[in-house]
């Protein structure tokens, strides 16, 4: 075989027969085929293969549209003409035959989400109910034998009313809380609303030591006291004093005026929180609790029933007394906050840096640099250890999870590049 006479590859001959060769190569191939007997033989072989394959016939020629396709056509037409907004149709088409799977997955996810949200709430409400139901049960044990006009707090009366309705028992009088509220109304402070006053003041002064001494003098004059005081900063730098001062509410304005004279005011603000309603509510609850305590004490003194009943009344009495003490402390704290205003003062020194005539020596600077370097290295090692400890388990887990998929993808990519 003459090697010069075959400038066309066998695959190109095949592509020429299939009509897949570029025009310039096709003309060269045609010219070569006219001369080369061997290539003609190969072409004949390829043609015979195609000819042999054509012996396997499987096509059908009928073209009537089957009912299934006609139905799909009609449905498609209905969908395209229906009132469903156009932007929803592609989504349905996107879901296609998979929509039952999507619906199932969505439904399961919704149920799980609902359970995740509702179960903790349900548990919390059950716990709350169990906590609240205990005192109610205590009261219900005592109530039938107590006088009908026994004053009780609002919550207890409400519960008894509900229970009485359920049991068709005689209704319990609800006049007691109203009378209590009337009594509470008389305990309103005579001097108007109750306001917790708070002021913020920020000053800058050149004479820091003098300002601090004067501040104590101002506090003494206005019968105030220091709630908290912090002073920071070295002598060579700007010092700062932060103080929480408590002064009588009616002395706050005068105190502020005097404190402002200690330096240049940088910022100032005042606020007032009206706690009248909270105080009244607290007083009412306190009064109710005291009435309940009195009634329970009377009941305990006059009661000649079973020992278990007496013990239950004693337990209820303890609980009510605990509540009274707690509310009393809360009332005193609120009164204190109202009667004494809070002044948060910050005094900063107006510091001017001095020119440093003698710079630090080279050895000192080298020593400092070495110390800083060591500290930075140690911090770096500790930070790295912390990072590894905090994220290492997660990275390890994800590495294990993603290893096999990543390996598969890598193999696929490598195979595609190889092919």
């Amino acid at each position: 075989m003459n090697k010069i006479s075959h400038p066309i590859e066998p695959e190109e001959l095949m592509a020429y027969l299939d009509g897949e060769l570029a025009a310039n190569r096709a003309s060269a191939t045609a010219a070569h085929l006219g001369e080369c007997v061997e290539c003609q033989g190969l072409v004949t072989s390829l043609r015979s293969v195609s000819q042999n394959l054509k012996a396997w016939k499987a096509e059908r020629t009928e073209s009537t549209i089957p009912p299934a396709i006609a139905t799909a056509l009609a449905e498609n037409e209905l969908v395209s003409r229906s009132v469903i907004p156009a932007r929803q149709r592609p989504r349905r088409a996107f879901l296609g035959q998979r929509w039952p799977v999507v619906a199932w997955v969505g439904g399961v996810a919704a149920i799980l989400l609902l359970a995740a949200v509702s179960v903790p709430n349900l548990l919390r409400s059950r716990i709350t109910n169990s906590v609240l139901s205990k005192p109610t049960a205590d009261v219900l044990v005592v109530a039938p034998e107590a006088p009908s006009a026994m004053p009780m707090n609002g919550r207890q009366v409400d519960r008894i009313e509900q229970f009485a309705k359920l049991q068709a028992a005689p209704p319990v009088s609800s006049s007691a809380p109203q009378s209590d509220r009337t009594t509470v109304g008389n305990n309103l402070p005579a001097n108007g609303p109750m306001i917790i006053r708070t002021a913020q003041l920020s000053l800058i002064t050149k004479e820091f030591d003098k300002a601090r001494a004067n501040l104590e003098g101002i506090l003494k004059r206005h019968r105030g006291y220091v709630g908290e005081l912090k002073a920071g900063g070295s002598t060579g730098s700007g010092r700062t004093l932060t103080a929480t001062l408590r002064v009588p509410a009616d002395q706050l304005d005068a105190t502020l005026t005097e404190v402002k004279t200690l330096g240049r005011v940088e910022s100032e603000s005042q606020s007032g929180q009206d706690v009248t309603s909270q105080y009244v509510d607290l007083q009412a609850r306190l009064s109710n609790a005291r009435n309940t305590e009195q009634q329970l004490t009377d009941l305990l003194r006059n009661r000649t029933g079973k020992l278990s009943d007496v013990l239950e009344v004693e337990q209820e009495l303890d609980r009510v007394r605990g509540e009274i003490e707690q509310m009393e402390a809360e009332r005193k704290n609120m009164s204190n906050q109202v009667s004494y205003a809070t002044l948060n003062a910050t005094i900063a020194e107006d510091y001017k840096a001095q020119l440093q005539v003698v710079p630090p020596s080279t050895s000192t600077r080298l020593g400092n640099a070495a110390v800083e370097g060591y500290r930075t290295m140690a911090d770096g090692i500790v930070s790295l250890a912390l990072f590894l400890l905090s994220t290492g388990p997660s990275l390890l887990l994800w590495g294990v999870v993603l290893f096999l998929p990543a390996r598969l993808v890598w193999k696929k990519v490598r195979r595609s590049f190889a092919s």
Partner: protein
């Protein structure tokens, strides 16, 4: 296809008349039972109808149809693999036309590599171009061409066992001479 997407029924009828036979042949040659082939042909057209709203003319309609058909075929094969007991192979497809020739060709085709057989069948029976086959099979066009050549040569050997050695020698001779020609051309 675009006319059908616009709501034209005659356009779909034309599409159906043109591709129903080839699609049936596609399934029939690859699956057992003509009823299943008929069902899958209809499923292909139903899928075309349902997806008509999001059809984009990025490729030929023929390629689009055969890509759907290939997906359905792959799903059908997976289903058959799941349903069939382990170790049992699916029976070979049999056609009514020229049963002897069909058997002869089918047995020869069965001896080919899966990928090469698919490429050969897409070219010979579905008359797809190299580019269309490459798109369907997710392969480069040159790979399709070389595999197609290999499969044709192999099939020739299976179909004509007595001439197999002679033809292979001739092919090798042509290939070697081409290599030598190129080497000389580069030397010059």
């Amino acid at each position: 296809m675009l006319e059908f997407q616009g709501g034209s029924h005659p356009a779909f009828e034309q599409l159906f008349a043109r591709y129903r036979g080839p699609l049936y042949g596609f399934f029939r040659r690859r699956l057992q039972g003509d009823q299943r082939a008929e069902d899958l042909t209809q499923e292909t057209f139903v899928a075309v109808i349902r997806a008509s709203a999001r059809y984009e003319p990025r490729a030929l309609v023929r390629t689009y149809l055969y890509s759907i058909a290939m997906n359905l075929l792959a799903a059908e094969r997976r289903k058959q693999f799941r349903d069939s007991p382990p170790g049992e192979l699916a029976p070979e497809p049999i056609t009514n036309d020229a049963p002897d020739a069909a058997l002869w060709i089918r047995q020869a085709l069965e001896r080919l590599d899966d990928s090469e057989r698919e490429i050969l069948m897409l070219r010979e029976y579905e008359q797809l171009s190299y580019a269309e086959i490459a798109e369907l099979m997710k392969l480069p066009v040159n790979t399709v061409r070389s595999r197609l050549f290999r499969s044709r040569m192999a099939l020739k050997g299976h179909l004509e066992p007595e001439q197999r050695s002679a033809e292979a020698t001739a092919t090798r001779g042509v290939a070697e001479s081409v290599k030598l020609t190129r080497a000389e051309g580069e030397a010059i």
